[in-house]
Amino acid sequence: MNEDVESKLRDALRPVEPRAEFSRKLLARTLSTQAAPSKKPKVSRGAARPLVGWFSASLAACLLVAVGIQQQLHQQRLRATGLEARREVEQALRVTSQKLNLAFEAIKSQSTAPSDEKSGV
């Protein structure tokens, strides 16, 4: 009895086909909501990683070169300023030395002149 009822149920409850028109609509709607192909993002993400790496490496290299050049220029300017100052100090010392020599000679000639006059009178 049970088996008879069960087989009748199986027969009666076989899956039925939806309407053809509904099948078409179902396909159209399902395809329209299909997630965007996962290929593109994966490929672009994969390709973007080396690009980003190269870009950041070249950017870092450019920054290092720029900082190096800047430091070299700064040191050159400092060296030039130092040399100029040294030249000016040497010049000043030379001038001062000449002036002192002149003064010494004048004092020396003045100190010798009166003794000659005294001895001559």
Partner: protein, 187 residues
């Protein structure tokens, strides 16, 4: 009836990578089962078509989470059954009379047996939504009680008692209405 599992596994992988023809093949392979389950759970073609559409759109958006065609079949049955049960629970009064209008609810293998169809309508109308899902998964989808329990996330003993009760109602209907088809045929 069903396409080879390997073929559908390959189609699933292609559909996951965005191939439209593969998704078409998956929908065509499974729409009959989903639609029949929805139709017999909800009782009307319009509601069944809406539910079928919802289920496949949800499937399309979640293909990445589905591992194989076997998993997809399990997933479709589970989502369809659960959504149908939810709809029936949220509707205060299911229009049970609508079962009467839907001759397409049942397969047309034996059109000369209106008594069987009458018994089935009565049976479906008697059953609670979970019991109806259990009956359909058993006799439409040919699942064993253990698979039904997993699909509906229900204890195995509850599945068995639903099946026992359904068969009992079916037998009662069979003994109650032996003469009615004659009255029907005369009207």
């Amino acid at each position: 009836m069903d396409a080879a599992p390997d073929y559908l596994d390959a189609k699933l992988a292609q559909a996951r990578s965005g191939e439209r023809s593969a998704l078409t093949a998956l929908v065509q392979a499974h729409q009959r089962s989903v639609y029949s389950l929805a139709l017999r759970m909800l009782g009307t073609r319009d509601l069944a078509e809406d539910l079928t559409q919802d289920v496949f759109m949800h499937m399309s958006a979640n293909l990445g989470a589905i591992a194989s065609n076997t998993h997809l079949r399990f997933w479709l049955r589970r989502v369809t059954s659960n959504r149908a049960i939810d709809q029936l629970r949220h509707r205060s009064r299911l229009p049970m009379s609508s079962f009467e209008d839907q001759s397409e609810l049942f397969s047309a293998e034996d059109p000369a047996d209106p008594l069987l169809q009458r018994h089935l309508r009565a049976l479906l109308a008697h059953l609670s939504p979970p019991a109806r899902a259990v009956l359909l998964l058993r006799y439409q989808e040919d699942l064993d009680p253990m698979d039904i329990a997993r699909t509906l996330d229900m204890p195995i003993n509850t599945v068995k008692s639903h099946l026992k009760r359904s068969l009992q109602i079916m037998r009662e209907e069979a003994t109650r209405m032996p003469s009615e088809p004659c009255q029907d045929s005369s009207t």
